[in-house]
Subunit: 220 residues, 4 copies
């Protein structure tokens, strides 16, 4: 899995702080840029502590993600406050086998061998269908959930906080949890104040929305 | 593919007409219900002709869909102004082979046989993984795009119009086009005025957004 | 303020329970309707307790609201997961004074008199502008925030839960809080399980997102 | 009215082109950055001509807007695919009269005088209420639609195209049309390919959604 933060709003923590200042003062918006960095930092800390996260919507992050399965992306694109561009299985052919192996399968040699064999056979059939003139959009019907895909995603910081609450959770599926953790690591580097408490709800909100009392991370 | 309209806003064409009347008159909202059916019908016709489709957002439709491929649903859930509930491959096992066969494969006996053989082998591996204690969420990595899935979807009428413009188009993928056509047929029965011009953009707007001049349906 | 629940998804608590069942079982969606009411009720209770509120998006509620101020609606329409139809100040004239008086002004006789006098003068000017041929869309520039307006709103149950968390809170502005409480009262009648814990976050989630420890409702 | 483009996605036309390339090729996303500027420009031109505007969602623009009326912002915030931060009339006092005068009133000396007089009286009452201890959130009930407000807005390029179609139209209200035109002028400077055909639907799509045949701009 490769996760790259390819772009984000310049001054990702200044813009939301300026937004917050705009809502509560008489200052001309044209003059917001003159606010000192210290004041902006203090404002951002305060709004984050109060949970007034609407202002962090003004900061957006764009990632490219590769070598993840279509299982993962089918879950990922369910997040609706986001923009996506995904590699098409209609317009791109996938002649070379390229797939994700779940750790629980990878760690067992025999199982892994059978899994690889199955994948080899699937791709043989896929290529055969292509060779017989079946369009890629139909040939792909044999391709597995494991098939690697590439995707670009843009989310604003508020939507990301929600994404992390759901997908960094212990009970999220392992692959999307790995993705969420990698994305979180990237955005923390450039927006440490916004994401200081980001993570599963037990970390960010000190609650377990699913009320799983047997989870080791259940907040005390 | 099974498509069933399981629920929709009662009086699906009256509510939008009442909404339209509310915006342009002094009438107390409490009295909107007294408007004659003829007047409401005339109002709805007018707003649809003017393209003022915001009012039809107040009418929602809920469908259940089964025996469609995961290829289809991965496209479907990209429509963000909608609500989904999809059969989980984490919590449900799919021990019995159940898959969609593209018509171009089905129509060739030899191809069909090889396709079925591949599916049989995939499911054999899937069941073997389950039997060896691999959780469903990991075993499913071998399952193909063709795997059948069930999904419930709720969309408002405006979002549906957009869905039909994109997915009833000749150039949409065949399976989702079939779904869109079936959904359109269902909603036309209960909301004929709203959906009278619904369909691909060449029908609904008399334009081809992709400007495909070689398409037989290109508007003249 | 008048609040009327004019329409909602039939069987508002059955549809979400069916959605939940669909996600976790092999049942054909066509057969979901055969599930017993007791089972559906148990399912809904469970998903609500787990906070799996995505399924309640399939139930929508439509309200008409009248005799509220434009201050209120300017806040209301900031909720983006919702549909609105509002009485237009461009296409409707408001010749008769009709406005909301804040309780803190109404309770002081002298203040109330001055307030009413101001309103009378504003409407005199409004009518004068109309009489001189100024279009309603420009004449309304003198009309106050207090001016009464009518609006229709459709929200799904999940978006409503969020609306109630924010707007039933003690710290919300009084007029929109009154609206939220009235809406909550209406939906509770028809969907008691969905909304059993609905209200401000201190009630629904046992947390205070703003961490206002001095609030009498601060959760212990 | 002041409109300032305060921030936008760096390389606003490269990111969408990279997104488009990702969907149709085997290239590793990590290598997208190596694509030549000429190729990216050609790709962007092609997707814009085909109307495949989903990729331009990856580019976002943030504006601050001041000296506009609350009439304008009440319309503006109805655009739901956007983020807003607006100057609060609950937390900021507006002791100094500051309001917008519609051109049709401004151009008539006598009318203008009466309008200014009304505003003066309104603000006198507003300040009186404040002085008597009425909170700003209640005192503002007398403030007019004309009252100036400040707002920050972030929209992605696709949502902006829609905004321009609706609000640059001859039939849009004059103040929001002026805003839309100013915003369009700003984004054209930094993303000329994305916005080359932007404007009312008669320009961008060569259709009149309202079918106003008597409009001088009706497309031939």
């Amino acid at each position: 899995m490769n996760v790259k933060l390819v772009s984000f709003t310049p001054n990702p923590e200044k813009i939301p702080a300026m937004a917050a200042k705009l809502t509560h003062s008489k200052i001309k918006p044209e003059d917001l840029g003159k606010t000192s960095d210290d004041e902006l930092k203090a404002i951002l800390n305060q709004v984050m502590n109060l949970g007034h996260t609407s202002v962090i919507e003004h900061t957006c992050f764009t990632f490219t993600i590769s070598d993840v399965s279509r299982s993962l992306t089918h879950q990922l694109v369910r997040h609706r406050v986001a923009s996506y561009a995904q590699q098409s299985q209609r317009y791109v052919d996938f002649k070379e086998p390229n797939y994700v192996t779940p750790p629980k399968i990878a760690e067992n040699k025999k199982m892994k061998k059978a899994y690889d064999e199955t994948m080899k056979n699937i791709w043989k059939e896929y290529n055969k269908l292509l060779d017989m003139g079946i369009p890629a959009e139909d040939s792909r019907f044999v391709l597995p959930n494991a098939t690697c895909t590439n995707i670009m995603i843009t989310m604003n910081a508020r939507s990301l906080l929600n994404f992390f609450e759901l997908r960094c959770c212990q009970h999220a599926q392992w692959e999307i949890r790995e993705l969420a953790n990698k994305m979180l690591k990237e955005v923390k580097k450039v927006a440490p104040t916004i994401f200081k408490n980001a993570g599963p709800a037990c970390k960010s909100k000190k609650i377990c929305p699913e009320n799983k009392k047997d989870c080791p991370l259940y907040p005390k």
